[in-house]
Every structure is written in structure tokens, then in C-alpha cells.
């Protein structure tokens, strides 16, 4: 990481967005919309927030692509686990 690069990172902007997204989530959960809709919104917003943290605060954005691949490895497994196991209940 180059030194000069640091100060140009939009850290405060991301902070603002994260705070806003959090409020938006609380809002969504309080407004009585259909459950499937609120769940989709909430999941979407959380994913965006999480991605922002990873990309900017954890600097994934400026890391080599190989690290992206490495970081992505667990996620297919997470999805496989939950999607298959849930077939067994309910």
C-alpha cells in the first residue's frame, strides 16, 4: 500500500454510508411490509454494508486479485450448507 494512497481513501464517506444503511435497515424492519420483502431488503442492505467494509476498510479493493479469489472460497460452502440443510426442516 502506498502511503499517499491512504489519505485519499473515502473512509469518512463509507462511514456515513454504513450509518445510513444501518438506519435504513432499522426502518425497513419497523415499516410493516410483507415479510419476504423486508427480508430481501434487509439481506441486500447487509450484504452491501458488509461488502463496503471488506472493500474499503479491509482494503480488499486495492489487494491483488488472487486475494479476492482466496477470500471468496468459503462463500459457496456457506450457501451449500444452509441451502441443503434447510431442505430437511420446516
Amino acid at each position: 500500500m502506498q502511503n499517499g494512497e491512504q489519505s485519499h481513501q473515502p473512509y469518512m464517506l463509507i462511514w456515513g454510508i454504513l450509518a445510513f444503511l444501518m438506519l435504513a435497515k432499522v426502518g425497513v424492519s419497523l415499516v410493516g411490509m410483507p415479510q419476504w420483502m423486508s427480508i430481501s431488503f434487509l439481506v441486500l442492505i447487509s450484504l452491501v454494508s458488509a461488502l463496503l467494509v471488506a472493500l474499503y476498510y479491509m482494503h480488499l479493493r486495492s489487494e491483488p486479485k488472487k486475494l479476492w479469489i482466496l477470500a471468496a472460497v468459503p462463500f459457496p460452502l456457506v450457501i451449500i450448507l444452509i441451502l441443503l440443510v434447510i431442505q430437511d426442516f420446516g
Binding site: 432499522v26 488472487k66 486475494l67 482466496l70 444452509i82
Partner: protein, 213 residues
Amino acid sequence: MSQTAAVSAARGPVDPTRPEPGLGAYNLKLGMWVFLLSEVMFFTSLIGAYIILRFAHPEHFAAPGEVLNVPLTAANTFVLICSSVTMVKAFAAIARDDQKGLQLWLVATIILGSTFVGVQVYEYIHLFRDGFVPNAAAYTAGGGPLYGSTFYLMTGFHGLHVSIGVGCLIWVLIQAIRGRYSSSHLGGVEVMGLYWHFVDLVWIVLFTIVYLI
């Protein structure tokens, strides 16, 4: 097959000094990323269990806000988000060789992190009083005992991660005060940040799943 071809095949490319460039991240950082992947799986098993149990037994869970204190936790979430920005500021400071800045932002992060844990403890105490306990036999709050079990395990392990993080932050602060870091020597701060932001990231997901859905 001609002999010469075989020998040169066995030799491989002629440029012997061609280095194999690793991943482009120094060991400590790569190691931390790798470790965080295993943390993803750890939280997956806890959160996955929650999702599955909730799907199987919706009657055990209450609507958002019915049992849990959403405003308080939203505020607490904000605290954790703030601690992430202070942490990254600390890293930006040392990248500019700003020792004072590093120390100040680390202190801020420690305070925010401890606040988060403190609020969580406060929340636990109140929930306990309401009969929202992990012990199924003693559970009297809304929903059913699965709610208590899953809630405490997930938030408890997250809280444990934050607490460990605060401990490490204090250690990093001590190193910072001793002047161990510089712009060309900031691995310790950077991996601390990676861990801290990861814990923040997990909370963003947990907060949504546990409190809002």
C-alpha cells in the same frame, strides 16, 4: 522422442532466477486473511444453526423489537461502525508516520470497542431479568427456548471476539507508544485492523439477522 528434447524438457525454462511471486501480500497479512476465512466458517456454523432452527420452529422466535431492544442495539451497532472508522484512521495515520494520530485513534477504537461490550453486557442483564435466558428450562420470555439459546450463543461469541479484539488493540497501543510502528513497518496495525473490521462485518450481518428479521 529425441534425446536432446527430453533433456531440455527436464531442464525446464532457461531463466532459473524467475521468482514465483507468491500472492503479493506479506506473510502476516496473508495469514490474517486466511485465518479470517476460518472465522467465516465458524460464524457460519452458528448463524446457519440459527437460520435453520428458526426456519424449522418459527414459533420459538418473536417479531423484531418484541423481546429484544432494537433501538439500544442499533445505537450499539453505530458504536461499532464508528470503531471501524477510527481503526482505519489509525492505520491511515501510521501510513503517514503520524505517531500521535496512531495512538489517538487506537485509544478511540479501544474506547468504542469497550463501550460496545459494555452495552452488550447491560443488555444481557436486562434480558435475563425478563426471563430471556439461554437455559431452556428457565426460559419465560416471548417465543420459545430456542430463541434464547441461539441468541446468546451468537451474540456471545461475537462479543467474545470483540473483547479479544480490545485486548489485542491494547497490546498494539502499547507497541505504538513504544514507537514500534512506522510507515514502512505497519504490518501489526494493518492486521489488527483486518481482524477488527471483520468483527464489525460479522456484527452487521448478525444485527440484521438476530434483531431485524
